[in-house]
Amino acid sequence: MSRSDQPQDASGVSRRGFLKGVGAGALAAGAVAPAAAALGAKAGPQAAAAGTVFGPAPVAVALNVNGKVRQLRLEPRVTLLDALRNHLDLTGAKKVCDRATCGACTVLLDGKAVYACTVLAVEANGRAIETVEGLAETHGGAAPIQKCFVANDAQQCGFCTPGFVMACESFKRANPGATREQALDGLGGNLCRCGTYHGVAQAVVDALAGKGGN
C-alpha cells in the first residue's frame, strides 16, 4: 500500500519500539535531538549539548496544546499520546495499536500529522500541538471537515474517527486541490474496523470542495 502523506514522526524515526526499547540515555544523540534542544532552553545551556541524559526521573515539559502552554512533569518514556490522554485528559486521540500502524492517535505537530503514540512527549516540548478537540474549538464546535464527517456518516463506533479527522484535515491543508484518488492515497495511514471508508472518502472530497463552511 503506497501512501504519499502518511503521518510521520517529526523526528524521522517512526518506530516506537526503537525509541522506547533503547532507553532514554541512548536516544539523545540522534532521535531525540530536537527535544533536547527544546528542553535545553529551560534546563540551562549545558543540557542542550548532545549526549544529555533525561530521566528516568520526571522532567519538566511544556506542551503547547491547542494554543495553550501546559507545564507538566513527565518521565521521558511517556509518549505524546499518553501525555495528552493520561495527564491532560485530552482523550480525543485514541490508543488502538500503540505502534504507529492505525492512525487513531493522529494529532498535528507543528502543523504536520504525526502518530502521537510514536512521539515522546519530551520531543514535542515547546512545539505546536493541535488535537481533534482544538480543531473543533477553533471552529466554534465543528470544523468544516468535522461537519462533512457528520453529514456523510463517516463514523460508526467512532473510535478511529478523531484520528481520521486529523489526518483528513492535515491532508486538506497540504493538498487543497487534491483529487479523490489522491486523497484516498494520502489517507492510507489510518485504519477503521467498522468500515466507514465510503463516508470518510466522501467527507474529504466534500471538504476539499469547500463544503462544511470555513
Partner: protein, 709 residues
C-alpha cells in the same frame, strides 16, 4: 387513540430518510467519552503478565521484584505455580500501578518460568490435529449414493478461511470505582459492553456488593461485533483491585491480548462435492468440513449446505478441532460467513464445471432455498447494478496478466427483536426525554430512538433528548444478532404513542375535538385533516399541569411493527494480477431486505461496513499461530492486516423498500450483509483466474499457488 402502527412512509419527515447520527458531532470532535477515555482521580492502571507459549504450566513465579518497584500498588496472581495455561497470552498475573508506564515496567520485572506442554494450534488439517479433532456424526440421506452416482456432473471443491479476530479498535476493558451517590455506597463500572443492562451482576459479584449498588455506564463503545457481552476476567479484575486498593482501577487490554484472547471467529475448511444434472439442477451435496473455535472447539449452526438447505440428497460431516488458541466468540452472524463461503464456492465451481453462467445456475436452483422469490428479485437488481451480463465470461477464457472476474453469494438471517423497555417523559414545558438501557455499538441506537420519538411527536430531532448506555435506565437486552433496532424502535414507538394519547386527551377539550381526531405533526397538535387551529406542541404540553407524563414502552412483535428473516445478495467485481497474485476489488454491490428502515443513512453505513469487513476477510486478515511455539505471531495491527481506505473499491448498496418490504416492520441489519462478501469475492477471483484459491484471505502466495495447479 394515536395509532401504534408505523405511519405511512409518505407521511414521514424523518423515519426512513437519511438522518445524520445524533452523536456524530461529539464523536468527530473527540468529545465522546469511551471506557478507554475515563480518567478518575487517583486512578490506577493495570497490566498483565501473560503466557509466552501455546500451552504451559507455571513452574515458578516471583512477583516480589514487581511489588518492590515504586508506584506499584497491587499485584494479583491469576495463575499460580502449577496452573495450566491453555493459550498464548493467557493471564498469569495482573499488576496495578500509579501509571501505565510503571505497570508495564512492573510486568517486565516479574520472574516467571514455565514448563512447556504439548499444544495444538493446527486447524487446517484434521490428520495433524490428531485426537484434538472430534468428528461429529455424519448425516446421510437415504438416496444420497444413488443421487450422486446418477448425476451428470460431480464437481469437487476444496476451500476454507482462517481464524479472524473481532479486532475492536477500542480493546476490551473496564474502569471500576467504589464511591457514593446521595450518601449511599455505589460501585461505578464503565465497561465497553454490548450488554449494559445485564453486565452489572458480574461486577457486583467481583466487587462483593449487591447488584443494586452497581452503576454500569457505556456511553460510547469502540466496536463489539459480538465479542463484548460480559465483563470478562478483565472487568472482574478491575472490580477486585478497586476493592482491594480503595482506588479506581482501569483495565484495558493492550492490542496483543485483544487479538489473542478477546474474541475470534471460527476457521472453517471443507471438501465439497456437488452433483448436478445437465440442465444445472442440483441433485446431491456432500461435504466434509472442519475448523476451530480455539479452546472451546468449533463448528455448529448453521449447517451445510447454507441457504440451499433443501438440496434433496446429502452427506454432511463436520469435525470441530480443539486448539490452544483464544476462544471464539459470536462474530457478526456466527458461522454464517464461513458456511456461506463453503457453500457458494462449491456451487460456483459446479456451475463452472457445467460451463454455465453462475448467475443462471444460482437462479435455476433458488427453489432449494426458503426465500426463492426474494432472492430472485434481489439477484435481478444486483446483476443490473454490477453489469453482470457484460462482465461475466467463462472461467479460463482469459490469457492476460491482469484478469477480471465476477462472483456472487446469497445469505439469510433472522434479525427479530429482543426485549427492550423504553421510558418516555413528556415534560410540561414540551421537553421530550427517552431513556433506555440499550447501548450503541456504532450502529446508531441513539439516533434510532430519537428518530422514532421525533416522528411520533411531530418534532424536529433536535427537540428530543435520548439517554442510553446506563444500567439505571429501563432494561434492554444485549445487542447481538441484529436484534436491537427492532426492539428499541418499537418500544420507543409504544412509549411515545401512550404519552401522545395522554397529551391529546389533555388538549382535546379546548380544541373542541375528540382526542382520537388529533395528531402530532409539524410541531403542532392538530386535527387529522388540517393544520388550521393546531396548537404548538410545547403549548399543548403546558396543559398537562405541573407533573410530567411518564410512559413505558416495550418491544412490539408482528403486526407490521417488527419481523424477522431476511435474504440478501452480494456480487463482486475483481481484478487479479497473475504475476504478483494481488487481488483488487473494483466494485461490490449489496442488495438487501431488512423490512422497514428507520435511518437510511446509518443503515447504508452498516451495510457498507459489513462489505468492507468481507473484503478484509477475503483478502487481508487472519490470525496466524506458530506451530512450533504455539503463539500468535501477529498480535498487532501491522501484521494483522485490515483493509485501508484505498483497498475497498466501489461499494453500492440497494435496500429493498417496496411497500411489501416496508409492511413487514423493522428487522435488524447488523449481521446479514456481513455474510456474503467473502464468498462473493472468492467466487469472483475463481471466475477471473479459472482456479479456486483454497483459502481466505486470498493472499498473493495463495493466489499464485492456485494458478500453478
Amino acid at each position: 387513540m394515536a395509532d401504534l402502527a408505523w405511519p405511512d412512509p409518505k407521511d414521514c419527515s424523518l423515519l426512513g430518510t437519511r438522518v445524520p447520527r445524533i452523536d456524530g458531532p461529539d464523536k468527530c470532535a473527540g468529545r465522546a467519552k469511551y471506557t478507554y477515555d475515563i480518567n478518575r482521580p487517583r486512578m490506577l492502571w493495570a497490566k498483565f503478565v501473560t503466557c509466552p507459549y501455546g500451552r504451559a504450566r507455571v513452574a515458578s513465579l516471583d512477583v516480589t521484584p514487581a511489588q518492590q518497584l515504586p508506584g506499584v500498588v497491587a499485584v494479583e496472581v491469576i495463575a499460580g505455580v502449577g496452573s495450566e495455561l491453555k493459550t498464548s497470552f493467557q493471564e498469569v498475573a495482573c499488576i496495578a500501578a500509579e501509571s501505565e508506564e510503571i505497570a508495564r515496567e512492573a510486568v517486565r520485572r516479574v520472574k516467571v518460568t514455565f514448563d512447556r506442554l504439548a499444544h495444538n494450534v493446527v486447524d487446517d488439517d484434521v490428520a495433524m490435529a490428531g485426537n484434538q479433532a472430534k468428528p461429529g456424526r455424519e448425516q446421510l440421506t437415504d438416496d444420497f449414493a444413488e443421487a450422486i452416482g446418477g448425476a451428470a456432473v460431480v464437481s469437487e471443491t476444496e476451500v476454507g478461511c482462517s481464524v479472524l479476530t473481532h479486532c475492536c479498535l477500542e480493546s476490551h476493558g473496564s474502569v471500576v470505582e467504589f464511591g457514593e451517590e446521595d450518601g449511599q455506597p455505589v460501585v461505578r463500572a464503565w465497561c465497553s459492553s454490548q450488554a449494559v443492562s445485564g453486565v452489572g451482576g458480574e461486577f457486583a459479584q467481583a466487587a462483593g456488593v449487591p447488584a443494586a449498588q452497581v452503576r454500569v455506564s457505556c456511553q460510547h463503545m469502540g466496536g463489539g461485533f459480538g465479542s463484548k457481552f460480559g465483563a470478562d476476567l478483565w472487568g472482574a479484575l478491575a472490580a477486585r483491585l478497586a476493592r482491594q486498593t480503595g482506588r479506581p482501577v482501569k483495565v484495558m487490554l493492550e492490542r496483543d491480548m485483544e487479538i489473542a484472547l478477546a474474541g475470534s471467529r471460527l476457521s472453517a475448511f471443507g471438501r465439497m462435492r456437488v452433483g448436478v444434472k445437465d440442465d444445472g439442477e442440483i441433485v446431491a451435496w456432500e461435504s466434509d468440513a472442519w475448523g476451530t473455535g480455539g479452546v472451546n472447539g468449533g463448528m455448529g449452526a448453521p449447517g451445510l449446505p447454507y441457504v440451499f438447505g433443501n438440496i434433496p440428497n446429502k452427506k454432511v460431516k463436520s469435525t470441530p478441532i480443539f486448539t490452544n488458541t483464544g476462544a471464539q466468540r459470536a462474530w457478526r452472524a456466527p458461522n454464517h460467513p464461513q458456511m456461506c463461503l463453503l457453500t457458494m464456492a462449491a456451487l460456483s465451481d459446479a456451475a463452472a464445471e457445467l460451463g454455465m453462467d453462475e448467475l443462471d445456475f444460482f437462479r435455476k436452483n433458488l427453489g432449494l432455498t426458503s426465500r426463492a422469490d426474494v432472492y430472485r428479485e434481489e439477484l435481478e437488481i444486483a446483476a443490473e447494478m454490477i453489469g453482470w451480463k457484460k462482465k461475466w465470461i467463462p472461467r479460463g477464457d482469459q490469457g492476460d496478466v491482469v484478469r477480471r472476474g465476477v462472483g456472487l453469494a446469497l445469505h439469510t438471517w433472522g434479525g427479530g427483536p429482543h426485549n427492550s423497555n423504553v421510558q418516555c417523559t413528556l415534560h410540561p414545558d414540551g421537553a421530550v426525554e427517552l431513556r433506555c438501557g440499550t447501548q450503541d455499538l456504532g450502529v446508531g441506537a441513539r439516533t434510532t430512538i430519537g428518530i422514532v420519538a421525533a416522528e411520533t411527536f411531530g418534532l424536529p430531532l433536535a427537540k428530543v433528548t435520548v439517554l442510553i448506555g446506563e444500567n439505571r435506565y429501563p432494561q434492554s437486552d444485549g445487542s447481538g444478532g441484529s436484534t436491537t433496532v427492532g426492539a428499541i424502535s418499537t418500544a420507543t414507538r409504544h412509549a411515545c404513542v401512550q404519552a401522545l394519547d395522554k397529551l391529546c386527551a389533555a388538549i382535546a377539550p379546548e380544541m373542541n375535538a375528540a382526542p382520537e381526531q388529533l395528531i402530532a405533526k409539524d410541531g403542532l397538535i392538530r386535527g387529522r385533516e388540517s393544520a388550521a387551529g393546531g396548537v404548538p406542541f410545547a403549548d399543548a404540553c403546558r396543559r398537562l399541569g405541573a407533573q410530567p407524563v411518564v410512559t413505558m414502552g416495550q418491544t412490539q412483535r408482528g403486526n407490521g411493527m417488527s419481523s424477522s428473516q431476511v435474504g440478501g445478495v452480494q456480487m463482486a467485481d475483481v481484478e487479479v494480477d497473475c504475476e504478483t497474485g494481488i487481488v483488487t476489488v473494483r466494485q461490490m454491490v449489496a442488495v438487501q431486505d431488512c423490512g422497514r428502515i428507520i435511518d437510511l443513512l446509518t443503515t447504508e453505513s452498516q451495510v457498507r461496513g459489513a462489505m468492507i469487513m468481507g473484503v478484509c476477510a477475503a483478502l487481508y486478515e487472519e490470525r496466524i499461530q506458530d506451530p512450533v511455539t504455539g503463539v500468535v505471531l501477529n498480535p498487532d495491527l501491522e501484521f494483522y492486516k485490515l483493509a485501508g481506505i484505498a483497498d475497498v473499491g466501489r461499494l453500492d448498496v440497494h435496500m429493498m423498500q417496496t411497500p411489501e418490504h416496508v409492511a413487514r416492520g423493522v428487522i435488524g441489519i447488523g449481521e446479514p450483509p456481513a455474510i456474503s462478501p467473502m464468498a462473493a469475492i472468492a467466487n469472483a477471483v475463481a471466475n477471473a483466474i479459472g482456479a479456486r484459491v483454497k483459502r481466505c484471505p486470498m493472499t498473493p502466495d495463495r493466489v499464485l499457488a492456485a494458478l500453478k495447479t
